[in-house]
Amino acid sequence: MKKKTSIGKIFLYIILSTYALVTLIPFLWALSSSFKPLSEIVSGSINFIPQNFTLDNYRQIFIQQELFPRWMFNSIFIATVGTGLNVIFNSMAGYALARLAFPGKKALFIIILAVLMIPAQVTMVPNYLILREFGWLNSYQGMIVPSMINATFIFMMRQFFINFPKELEEAAAIDGLSRIGTFFRVVLPLAKPALAAQTIFVFMGFWNDFMRPLIIMTDSSMYTLPLGLNTFKGQFVSYWNYIMAASMVFTLPVLLIYAFFNKYFIKGLSLTGGK
């Protein structure tokens, strides 16, 4: 494979760079627009480097839409708590399915696999009615509790724990740790790579979710960022400088998390990738 001719190599680099540009241009364009004053936006001039560079849009979005910090808080709160619960509960379930014997285990496992196949739209309407009955519309628990487990990651964690060395748990048991103590003090800390992969995917799922908050959160102070952004767009239809600034603010946290967990990301993908 290494014996590539240099012409072939150049050709490959051209392809890679072209596609890198195709990927980057929308982001660069959005970033550049977020630093332009409105006058430059409406003039229709196409320039990636702002003629009148300004940070004002980033200030204005917080002034024009005073709910912005609130939306950000809602998003961070729901995503963080939801992810934390998912990581613990999915791992517990995966562990039980991999290691413990209890009646109904096989049936439960099959049900969890079946749930993977059912599109969310089927449960969307009844879940709305159930949450309404509980008085959980416009609440954090309405967003978090129904999603505090995830069949995909229960399955992933089960696969992970099946290959997990038993000796460690046996040693912990000899040291007098209970099963639950062993799980939290010995098993979970050693499952870090799997937990990290799970964390990224579940966090992204909560953070980027549009449909569920759209249904559950009708009070604008309870919006999450994607919903808020959509509303914001409706209010400032041609203020693309504001909309792009808001979009950039919203994208940053996920990029940071990705940078932090990057190396686990690919691993996690091959874990979920059904390999």
Binding site: A30, M92, P119, V125, N208, N230, Y258, K275
Partner: protein
């Protein structure tokens, strides 16, 4: 002895249920219960105002699909979307993965850039593309520079869905690319070396070695693609402000379900029926794909 054993088994079962308890709770209350509830709803006329009232209507919610003009538009749009987007994004993902896997320097750098769309939320991506698709936006500027015709991407019913397709192929392909990359790295170099000795060029190698080897992954990617594309919602909702316009051209099945469930009165039962039809279509699509890829293996 026997008693002691059963006490131990009992303890383990208790621990098992303890570990499963959060999952069981959500499974029963928010997944299995709602599925049964959804079946119930789909056979009823649901009134939410005042006292919630259910009126048994048999199969009429399901029959209504055939008379509903908007339903047939939504199904047709979704179908077009799936048929075009799934092959394109899969092919692009394979192409990118194969190029990245050629052992060039800077692979990591390109990989990080390519992954950006996967990390960005659909809401943000849609807004960025709407800004680029603007009448006097970046895309039209590019087309004009190249001497090509410009389009009213968001206002022209013939173009709007295609605009969403392009955006989503661009946004989803890198995710599948990463899955392919892992698989490509598992193909032994010796196979390629042997093929080179036999005088196979890069294209021949790609079709005779790479493609057959990643077939199971392709099957997985296509199934994931089918499931994902059938559920298109965020992008068309944001693109059209929730209406599915212009002229119903971005109306998808899920958007229609949403509208019937939450925007029009007394059509919740019908929405539930539509959701079941969608679930069955997705299931059939998935099974069909599985069957097709198995048959290909026979050659």
């Amino acid at each position: 002895m026997n008693r002691k054993y059963s006490a131990k088994a009992l303890k383990e079962a208790g621990q098992g249920y303890f570990f499963m308890s959060p999952t069981l709770f959500v499974l029963l209350l928010f997944i299995l219960g709602p599925i049964l509830y959804a079946i119930f709803l789909s056979f009823h006329d649901v009134r939410l105002l005042g006292e919630t009232a259910y009126n048994f209507v048999g199969f009429s919610n399901y029959e209504r699909v055939f008379e509903d003009q908007r339903a047939s538009i939504a199904i047709w749009n979704t179908f077009k979307y799936v048929i075009i987007v799934v092959p394109c994004q899969t092919a692009l993902a394979i192409f990118l993965a194969a190029t990245l896997n050629a052992g060039l320097k800077g692979e990591k750098f390109f990989r990080i850039i390519y992954f950006l769309p996967t990390l960005t939320s659909s809401a943000v991506l849609t807004l960025i593309f709407m800004w680029m698709y603007n009448r006097e936006g970046l895309v039209n500027f590019g087309l004009e520079t190249l001497g090509l015709p410009t389009y009213n991407f968001m206002g022209d019913p013939n173009i709007a869905l295609a605009a969403i397709m392009i955006m989503n192929i661009w946004a989803t392909a890198p995710f599948f690319m990463v899955i392919y990359l892992a698989a490509l790295q598992d193909i032994p170099d010796s196979l390629y070396e042997a093929a080179e000795l036999d005088g196979a060029g890069p294209i021949r190698k790609f079709f005779s070695i790479t493609l057959p080897h990643i077939k199971p992954i392709t099957s997985f990617v296509v199934i994931m693609g089918i499931i994902g594309t059938f559920q298109l919602f965020d992008q068309s909702y944001i693109f059209s402000g929730g209406s599915g316009g212009p002229d119903n051209s971005t109306l998808t099945v899920v958007l229609l379900i949403y509208q019937y469930a939450f925007k029009t009165m007394d059509t919740m039962g019908y929405a539930a029926a539509l959701a079941f039809i969608l679930a069955i279509v997705i299931l059939v699509g998935t099974l069909l794909q599985r069957k097709l890829s198995k048959e290909e293996n026979l050659y």
